[in-house]
């Protein structure tokens, strides 16, 4: 697993509100019970950890539905990390 993937999983694992021992790339965000403030906190944690800027407005974006799975979040973060390096 990539560093980004393990970092994202670590952050989402802290925010999840369901009793599930591990978070997998295939887990759906909605099934992990993330609430709206959890999403805002998750984005902050991701930005801090990977030193990236995630464009996000809670009025028009909903990461709980825009990103279906944990793997989708990983892919998005990997893209932003790559953009930062280039």
């Amino acid at each position: 697993m990539s560093d980004v993937a393990s970092g994202v999983i670590e952050i989402i694992a802290k925010k999840k509100r369901v009793d599930k021992p591990t978070v997998e790339l295939s887990d759906k965000l909605l099934d992990l019970g993330l609430e709206s403030l959890d999403a805002v906190e998750m984005i902050f944690d991701l930005e801090e950890k990977f030193d990236i800027q995630i464009p996000y407005n809670a009025n028009t974006n909903n990461p709980r539905t825009e990103f279906e799975t944990v793997g989708d979040v990983v892919a998005a973060v990997e893209k932003l990390v790559a953009q930062k390096k280039s």
Binding site: E35, S36, L37, V40, I43, F44, Y56, N57, A58, N59, T60, N61
Partner: protein, 407 residues
């Protein structure tokens, strides 16, 4: 005086992003003008992600205060005192003995002296200075605006600050209204003030991800959130008998106040809490839903508030909700947090007095989730006998005032 009194408003004062007197503010509201613009008040605004806010403009503190007094006044207290002076001047009251002892000063603020706090932190953390200005603490304390009004205007009765974020001013005015109604005091100077457009506070709001980048469009399809505002509004409340006895001009009557707490989410709006506060205000006023013609909505322009508030209006007013004229003053002056409820009650009182519903500007097209009449973009002539003004705060604290045309 003791017992149950009718409570009337005999003075209004405002400092707002649309003018620094009530007359200027109200004229601009009726015209549907926007008080939004680029952020200029903070150091290095170009570093901020958020580019716009609704700032108070052309406010020269030296026009209102001597330098010596100014060194004791954060911007939040300057706004409050200027608005209080205007309201008291209009009321025609002189606070001699014994009225001074029987006059309450109750002022809401969400966060108090943010400019002072921001400046002192900048000195300490950024510039590594070892000293901050000597009056830093009494300038930034949340009760500073209430204290400064009491000192400036010589008001010696009960005085305190009310803090309930975006509902602070409505809670403050509501408590003042109940105190005058119950005969606990013979007069009240009350309202709300906020001056929160500082670098650190804007960063805080950026992190919540709820601010609109370009315009505040309450209840409209395509709305993208709130825009921060600032300002103050203060009003003079007194029993009808006193106002009549001295032939005061009566601007309106406050008739009901309702409060509730969601006890649910910290920031997400709650339908039940909103409905309970509106119903409590109507009950307190002994008004039926069908008695109301105009609602000054909380209407922040966030996706969640406007949809939930619409549902709450349906629930509280039933079929009559469709007949209400509803508008969001925040579309024009942004969200002035602890001052919002006072600025919006001024708009509500004048809407009733002048029979004009001010508009919700920035309205693009209907959102199916917001299916009521929001007076889009242009003010409307409308006879109003009674109206309510909603304030719903972060933390789930709700406050609603009901007013009537005075006759």
């Amino acid at each position: 005086m003791t017992g149950v009194h009718r409570v009337v408003v005999t003075g209004l004062g405002a400092v707002s992003p649309l003018g620094n007197t009530v007359a200027a503010y109200w004229d601009n509201l009726k015209l549907g003008n926007s008080g939004l613009g680029p952020i200029t008040l903070t150091p290095a605004p170009e570093e901020l992600t958020q580019k716009i806010a609704a700032e108070v403009k052309d406010f020269d503190p030296l026009k209102h205060f001597a330098e010596r007094q100014l060194s004791t006044l954060d911007r939040v207290s300057q706004f409050a005192v200027v608005a209080a002076r205007e309201a008291i001047a209009q009321s025609g009251l002189a606070f001699d003995m014994p009225l001074s002892l029987r006059t309450a000063t109750i002022v809401g603020t969400g966060v108090g002296g943010q400019t002072t706090l921001d400046e002192s932190f900048r000195r300490v953390y950024l510039e590594k200075r070892t000293r901050v200005f000597p009056l830093t603490i009494p300038k930034l304390m949340a009760n500073a605006p209430a204290s400064q009004i009491s000192m400036d205007c010589g008001l010696r009765g009960p005085s305190f600050a009310v803090a309930s974020a975006c509902a602070s001013a409505t809670h403050a005015i509501g408590i003042a209204f109940h105190m005058v109604r119950a005969g606990l005091v013979d007069c009240a100077v009350t309202g709300g003030t906020e001056a929160c457009i500082t670098f650190g506070t804007v960063r805080g709001w950026e992190a919540m991800r709820v601010m609109a980048p370009d315009a505040c469009r309450p209840f409209s399809k395509g709305r993208m959130g709130l825009v921060l505002g600032e300002g103050a509004a203060v009003m003079v409340l007194e029993p009808l008998e006193r106002a009549r006895a001295r032939n005061a001009t009566i601007l309106g009557e406050i008739v009901g106040f309702g409060m509730s707490a969601d006890a649910a989410d910290l920031t997400a709006p709650d339908l039940g809490g909103m409905v309970r506060a509106m119903q409590a205000a109507l009950d307190d006023a002994k008004l039926a839903p069908a008695d109301i013609q105009y609602v000054n909505a909380h209407g922040t322009g966030t996706a969640a508030n406007d949809e939930t508030e619409t549902k709450a209006l349906h629930a509280a007013f039933g079929p009559h909700a469709k007949k209400l004229a509803i508008s969001s003053t925040k579309s024009m002056i942004g969200h002035a947090l602890g001052a919002a409820g006072a600025l919006e009650l001024v708009a509500t009182l004048l809407a009733v007095r002048d029979a004009i519903a001010p508009p919700t500007i920035g309205y693009l097209e209907p959102d199916p989730a917001c299916d009521l009449d929001y007076v889009p973009n242009e003010a409307r002539a409308l006879p109003i006998e009674a109206a309510v003004s909603n304030s719903f705060a972060f933390g789930g604290l709700n406050a609603v005032l009901a007013v009537k045309r005075f006759s």
